[in-house]
Amino acid sequence: MSPNPATDFASINARVRAMYSTLLTKQELINLSEAADLDALLNLLKHTVYGPYLDRIKDKELNARRAAFLIRARLAEASHSIIYNSPEYTRELLTMVYRYHEINNLKAVLRGIITNSSWDKVRFVLFPYDGDNEIPAKEMVESGNVVQAVELLKTTPYYDTLSFAMKRYSAEQNLFPIEVALDLDYWRELWKAVKKLPKEDRSYAEKILGSLLDMNNLMWAIRYRVYHNLSEEEVINYTLPFGYRVRDEDIRAIAAGADLAPIVKRIYPFLTGLDEMLSDPHSGLPRLEHLLEKKIADQCHACFVGNPFQIGIVLGFLELCDMEIQELVVLFEAKADHLATDKYKNYLLVDL
């Protein structure tokens, strides 16, 4: 049966809009940022939609790391509910979107092994997957060895990619090739899933997920060149030839050492101050990334205006929820370290 957007999205649209209405307002985020310390911040947060998550453990056991772990459960629950209630033909993509957190978990677990961290330390930096986690995180950390840990992933979709990357790891004893391989594989699979969507949904998914991919791809290319001094062929092999605005020629030009500002201007003609920003890529790059994240957030909000029967509102909400949690994590860390507002405000999407 061919998809019928009006009936397929009727229920999920209502559900997601209800969830969307529970996202924190700008004023709420400002109030949270004005909290005197972490305890005050958590007390304020307990009166929001995150309250029930923070109540899962005793107050005295709450710290920045645990609070971050707990509030991520909101995104996990929302993702579950959304995937389960979304039209059948969108589930592959939504599951792939959800899997992004698993990739991050995998990286965190491997980093935990490298730094000899205990499971109790690692578990709270992971996304709370609960029962549907494909990676045996605890066993991996307890194996204490990257090679053995990767062997535990034999039945997961990551093993093939990792088995190639492990050859590099064994030779270089560095997680970089593993992380790059995981990222590239993830975005390739995600993009394939986007391309399988019907036309209308595909255009929304390309806009949101493609913009995210663009941002990552561009940042990878520039960082590999500027920070890691990688060769042209390495930059090309560690990046992707597709996206929403970014073209393969742009990436190849960056890899070949072309001037960055004209390339970024072509990709994002609506961004201002790029010349100044990219005159010193070391300081300008985080600013550019921050600017792009803001633009993506705007795109996500824009999906809620106009045609209600499309995948954009679902993807938009998931991305916004993820961004909101990242904002809160920044606030947790800042308040735990008693940082002044000036020290952390540039890491927030909300203007304080």
Binding site: E142, D160, T161, F164, A165, K167, R168, P177, A181, D185, R188, L230, S231, E232, E233, E234, I236, N237, Y238, P241, D248, R252, A256
Partner: protein, 663 residues
């Protein structure tokens, strides 16, 4: 038996020296449930307090290691002989034992893993080389070329194009030689001058170059032969290592299982102690005990030491008993039905345990719906087989055996009452009571009547429960309290003569010697009381304001609430009509299969009996299942809904003896 087990809260203060004997005394009988009072500890960060935390971690780690060894040795975890653990194991000594066995096993297992990896690696190479089997070129000559740098290897198919793109600034040749699933075998070649670029590009595209062992030279066909030889060598090594592993298994099996058992016991003991409160020289143990065991517990603790102090407080079943755990306390005959109750909810300590009611009502309802001597007997036999645990395939039914047996016996008795045997209605013998297929209206009316009695019983139990916890407001004015019961009885009383004009009602019921319009007046009075029940409840409970949101809104709400209550009473009562309906359907369903059987085998041949058997399976299996579901529904929704709230805390017996299924 009508209430959960009487509980006593005990607080035991134990000198540190008597800690382990006391822990052992509390464990094992399943009558003590521990409460976590670690927060009472005077200094939770002291070395002593952390000592048991560390032991928990150590036992847990050792347990996992022993479990891994058991798995590696492929030891079947047979039921173990239970033996008392004198004291928790010493971690250091145990660690040495585990280290020794582990190192022995690990080296063998690792040897096998290495050989298996070799086989996997060689098999992978074989797969890749198959594509090149017909190429008559010596690989070593290719790699020794003076002007050409070439790489033969495998990479993810997705990376091939990207690799090509990355080399666009230099001259090169890239030939995909074969492709399997997501992997591609390629040959990449370029000028020797560009070796660095080629290698860098290949590495960053995750190209895995073929690295052939030094002894594997020559053409692909020759290399394939060498690889096959290596695979066979690895297989021989694995066989030898497995034989050694078998010897270790035979020698260590008993020791490992005992160690596992002891470690689990030690772990549980340490876990229990962590939840005690630790004072300077003593420990505080708090928990719930079956009241009738208090004397024997005191005696056994006195035997350990006269310095042990025991404080006990019997929990009453009042309003404030929400934290008291509940252990159901029923005679053996009723016990199988406890799971039916706890599946719905765990009874609270203060409320009547509905198990005895369920144990009687459940088989009765099932039997009334499924009355047939033969079919009932088959279900009873099936239940007995499940109980006997002799047939492994029936393990799935678990604790349902006794319930099925009771339901089967009840259905058999009703079969005699209905004159029904294996679907033959009234032809084998006359019904002792009535034939549902012939007296349809009678059976329907009787079952509704029975439903009314069950519901009234539900009201009475609810009122009793509420009075026990001194919730007088709900007991009198609640919708399932006295006022609700009054409304229900007056509704039934009013409806009887009306219904009697349409359906046959026993004369004694339709001509009760009561004043004219007696039930009508009662109905109006109770309806008004139900409408204002919230006001009365607020009044008794001291809750102000009496009416929230204004009288207008209250009246509208109260009217619709009354309407809802009346509808629910009606639907609850009529719900029991399904009991009669299923009794009728059972006979008619059998008749349908007899008709089908006659169509297939008019002269009573093989076809007839095959169809009869199909019918039998359908009726006993499918209809039996539906009747079981309907019985559960009547019990849960119509009956429990009236009085059973649940929400109790399950009594978790304290034990330091691991159960067999935990190992």
């Amino acid at each position: 038996m009508f209430y959960p087990q009487k509980m006593t809260e005990v607080e035991i203060i134990v000198p540190a020296k008597d800690l382990l004997p006391v822990t052992r005394a509390l464990s094992g009988q399943g009558v003590f449930s521990q409460t976590d009072v670690n927060y009472l500890s005077s200094d939770r960060n002291s070395a002593q307090a952390n000592q048991w935390q560390e032991k928990v971690a150590a036992y847990s780690a050792l347990e996992r290691r022993v479990q891994s060894i058991i798995q590696a040795l492929d030891i079947k975890q047979l039921p173990m002989k239970k033996h008392d653990l004198a004291d928790p194991l010493d971690e250091e000594t145990t660690k040495l034992v585990v280290d020794e066995i582990e190192s022995e096993v690990k080296s063998l297992v690792e040897g096998i893993n290495i050989e298996n990896k070799n086989i996997e690696h060689f098999s992978g190479m074989l797969q890749q080389l198959k594509a090149l089997a017909d190429v008559d070129v010596d690989f070593s000559q290719m790699s020794d070329s003076r002007y050409i740098h070439s790489i033969l290897g495998m990479l993810q198919h997705e990376n091939v194009d990207r690799l090509r793109t990355s080399l666009s600034r230099i001259p090169f040749v890239l030939y995909p030689l074969s492709q399997q699933q997501q992997k591609a075998v390629i040959w990449l070649a370029g000028s020797k001058a560009n070796t660095e670029i080629l290698d860098r590009a290949a590495r960053s595209a995750y190209l895995d170059p073929f690295t052939l062992p030094d002894d594997m030279n020559g053409t692909p066909a020759q290399i394939i032969e060498s690889i096959n030889r290596s695979i066979n060598e690895s297989k021989d090594k694995i066989a030898s290592l497995q034989a050694q592993l078998k010897k270790v298994r035979e020698a260590k099996e008993g020791q490992l299982l005992d160690l596992m058992w002891d470690l689990r016991g030690s772990h549980m003991t340490a876990n229990a102690i962590v939840r005690y409160g630790k004072l300077k020289y003593t420990y505080v143990i708090v928990g719930w005990l079956y009241s009738n065991y208090l004397t024997s517990l005191k005696a056994s603790l006195r035997k350990i030491s006269s310095e042990i102090i025991i404080e006990a407080r019997v929990a009453d079943r009042g309003k404030d008993s929400s934290g008291v755990p509940t252990a159901l306390n029923n005679p053996r005959l009723f016990r199988p039905f406890q799971s039916t109750v706890t599946t719905y909810a765990q009874p609270k300590y203060s409320e009547l345990d509905p198990t005895p009611l369920v144990a009687i009502l459940f088989p009765l309802l099932f039997g009334a719906m499924f009355g047939d001597v033969g079919h009932g007997a088959l279900i009873a036999i099936f239940g007995a087989l499940v109980m006997s645990k002799k047939i492994k395939a029936l393990k799935f039914f678990g604790g349902l055996g006794p319930i099925l047996l009771a339901c089967g016996i009840s259905a058999t008795i009703f079969g005699f009452l209905y004159g029904s045997v294996m679907g033959y209605e009234g032809t084998v013998f006359e019904p002792l009571w009535l034939a549902p297929t012939e007296d349809i209206m009678t059976i329907l009316i009787i079952t509704i009547g029975a439903g009314v009695i069950v519901l009234i019983l539900g009201f009475l139990i609810n009122i009793y429960n509420l009075l026990t916890v001194k919730n007088f407001a709900q007991a009198i004015f609640g919708h399932n309290g006295l006022v609700g019961l009054g409304l229900y009885v007056s509704m039934i009383g009013w409806a009887l003569p009306v219904v009697g004009k349409i359906f046959p009602i026993p004369e004694a019921l339709s001509n009760l010697p009561l004043p004219k319009n007696f039930f009508m007046i009662l109905l109006i009075v109770f309806a008004v009381l139900v409408m204002f029940s919230e006001v009365f409840i607020h009044l008794i409970e001291g809750h102000r304001p009496l009416v929230e949101g204004g009288f207008g809104i209250y009246f509208a709400q109260a009217f619709f609430e009354l309407f809802e209550v009346l509808i629910s009473f009606l639907s609850n009562s009529l719900s029991f009509v399904r009991v009669g309906a299923f009794a009728v359907a059972h006979g008619n369903l059998a008749a349908v299969f007899f008709i089908l059987a006659k169509m297939v085998g008019p002269n009573g041949g093989v076809g007839y009996w095959i169809m009869y058997l199909v019918g039998l399976v359908f009726i006993v299996g499918f209809e039996g299942l539906i009747v079981y579901i309907q019985t559960t529904r009547l019990t849960y929704y119509e009956t429990f809904g009236k009085f059973f709230n649940g929400g109790g805390t399950r009594f978790e017996p304290f034990t330091i003896q691991p159960a067999e299924n935990e190992i």
